[in-house]
């Protein structure tokens, strides 16, 4: 067998290798495990590597393939963000609170991908409880950007984005509450997609802000993103917000042509604070869309400017309630401090949570407390309505909106950790899609000083096919997604 080159290998390319028996699932899995060993000391994208499980699943996948009873993901090595439950495999949320927690059940997405025959290589690092934009809030390790090891990978799905960028897995899943799939995908030069709220079940996803959290794929290209979403979308009665709709095959209808496609370019997403190089790259990308036949129209979403503020009231409020469950009694870290039940509880939460998690729990508690509830929480809920309606109206005129994913490329590790407000600004262009509940995707559209730039598309609720069509056409016309981190 010739040496297997897995650098930048897509699901579709791996599928061909497996189907044509050029490589077995076992060999493919071993190649990724070897790759992880060789780059992980620099990248640190995995919280845990499940080599034994992976090799066992690979054997099963090879049997399925030889019997001809396999699907598109059978034998494809993947990673899962470590806030998605994996039965029998630690699920830490990169928190001291859950460092030794072993879930008794699989998340919905874990079940779906296992059933499809995908192979679990391990779990991806994240900002603790998915709260952050650089993965530096992980209590377990700092992930480094494969494009430049001195830079952050973005966050909170920094482990998954870095793992795909470093070819440590074929694909990974992230979760996105305010940009946690798309922003790290942008900073690591891979494809990150957040589905419509409710399209993918949150059963088994450790809750952060339940009305905004959504799971989605992180992949090397748009075709792979569509394949993975087709596998994980669908109704699940264990998540009461799961939408009961027919899931289309998202891989169908991808064409490299945008004739008659209406693309809105909202001026608010090219505002102050955006790096001029990022702005140029995104504007050039929009010209490419025009060359593909799209109708480009400048538009305005004036209330997008308030989405960040709405988010920093709503998300911490929900987090403060969701994280009240960590009491050191039923599971998770538990303090041995002497004293009363209250002493143990307060000490458990003092030592178990990191600074950003504490900040958000306290901010949310403040926003929900009597005297401030109307001024903060209810006010935010009303502006939430206005933002939703503004997007709804925009999609009466446009198929998709195009804008940058993040205002800058990857920044220095340690560069923004002292200033929470500066850190929050990384998500200024991604948060509106979470507030509106709509799907969005980030694809690479340039490289500045050796670091990737992200182009973002947003579409109306459940219009994932339009999103994929725009992003696919863009990738067919450009080469950015073929340029890989030199690691």
């Amino acid at each position: 067998m010739p040496t297997l080159d897995i650098k930048g290998l897509t699901i579709n390319a791996a599928r061909r290798l497996l189907d044509e028996k050029e490589v077995s699932a076992l060999e493919l899995t071993q190649a990724y495990l070897d790759r992880i060993v060789s780059v992980e000391e620099d990248v640190h994208s995995f919280v845990s590597v499940t080599a034994d499980i992976a090799l066992e699943q690979a054997n099963i996948a090879d049997r399925m393939i030889s019997e001809g009873v396999h699907g598109h993901l059978t034998g494809i090595p993947m990673q899962l963000k470590d806030n998605m439950s994996t039965k029998g495999v630690p699920t830490t949320c990169s928190s001291k609170m859950l460092e030794h927690f072993i879930p008794p059940y699989d998340a919905y997405v874990t079940e779906k991908l296992k059933d499809a025959g995908a192979i679990l290589l391990g779990k991806g690092n994240l900002d603790e409880f998915a709260m952050g934009s650089s993965t530096e809030n992980s209590a377990l390790k700092v992930t480094h950007n494969p494009w430049d090891l001195e830079k952050v990978p973005g966050g909170s799905s920094g482990g998954p984005a870095a793992a795909v960028a470093a070819s440590e897995c074929v694909f990974s899943l992230g979760s996105d509450t305010g940009g946690s799939i798309r922003q790290p995908a942008s900073l690591c030069g891979v494809v990150g997609m957040k589905p419509t709220y409710g399209l993918v079940s949150r059963f088994g996803l450790v809750a952060f802000a339940s009305s905004l959290d959504q799971i989605g794929p992180i992949t090397s290209d748009v075709e792979d993103s569509a394949v993975v979403l087709s596998h994980i979308a669908g109704h699940d009665q264990r998540d009461s917000t799961s939408l009961n709709i027919d899931v289309p095959d998202y891989s169908e209808g991808l064409v490299a042509d945008l004739t008659g496609f209406k693309v809105g370019v909202p001026v608010e997403y090219f505002s102050e604070g955006i790096d001029s190089g990022v702005e140029n790259s995104v504007r050039n990308a929009i010209k490419v869309l025009s060359d593909l036949g799209a109708d480009i129209v400048e538009t305005s979403l004036p209330h997008s400017a308030y989405a960040l503020a709405v988010y920093y009231i709503i998300a911490p409020s929900e987090a403060s309630a969701n994280l009240s469950r960590y009491d050191g009694v039923k599971y998770g870290y538990s303090s041995d401090v002497a004293g009363s039940m209250w002493d143990a509880l307060e000490n458990t939460r003092q030592n178990g949570f990191g600074p950003e998690v504490k900040r958000r729990i306290m901010l949310g508690t403040y926003a929900l407390s009597s005297g401030y509830y109307d001024a903060y929480y209810v006010k935010a809920q009303k502006v939430w309505t206005i933002i939703r309606n503004e997007f709804k109206e925009a999609f009466e005129s446009f198929d998709v909106l195009a804008m940058p994913t993040a205002p800058t490329t990857a920044f220095d590790i340690g560069g923004k950790t002292g200033d929470p407000v500066q850190m929050y600004l990384n998500d200024i262009f991604t948060i509106p899609a979470n507030i509106a509940g709509i799907p969005a995707i980030s694809v690479s559209c340039g490289i500045l000083d050796g670091l990737p730039v992200g182009l973002q598309f947003m579409a109306g609720a459940l219009q994932e096919k339009k999103l994929f069509r725009a992003a696919y056409a863009y990738q067919q016309a450009t080469n950015w997604h073929h340029i890989k981190a030199n690691i």
Partner: protein
């Protein structure tokens, strides 16, 4: 409103009690400064006219979902207890709730 007037040390101390997070005086002061910054940055919401606007509780319209009340298998006792830090005879052991 000057920056640190957004939230007082006393309020942060009260929040630490409500959230059951033990904090040192130093942590409380740092939290006050950072929360003040964050609260300043979200004050721009007061610019938005919201009279007569209905609040949103969720990013999509979802309503209470009902299912048939049929019993089904759930996780086993030993699985449910496997992650409990302290246990005794199929129970989770906790500290005394009522003081003597």
């Amino acid at each position: 409103m000057s920056k640190n007037d957004n939230i007082t040390i006393e309020e942060v101390r009260h929040l630490a009690l409500l959230t059951r997070i033990n904090m040192s005086e130093e942590e409380i002061e740092q939290m006050r400064d950072q929360m003040s910054d964050i609260l300043s940055s979200i004050e721009i919401l007061s610019e938005v006219e919201t009279d007569g606007v209905e609040p949103t509780g969720h990013s999509v319209d979802v309503h209470s979902v009902m299912r048939e009340d049929i019993s089904s298998d759930s996780i086993k006792l030993d699985e449910a207890l496997a992650n409990a830090p302290r246990q005794e005879n199929s129970f989770i052991r906790v500290r005394a709730v009522l003081e003597e």
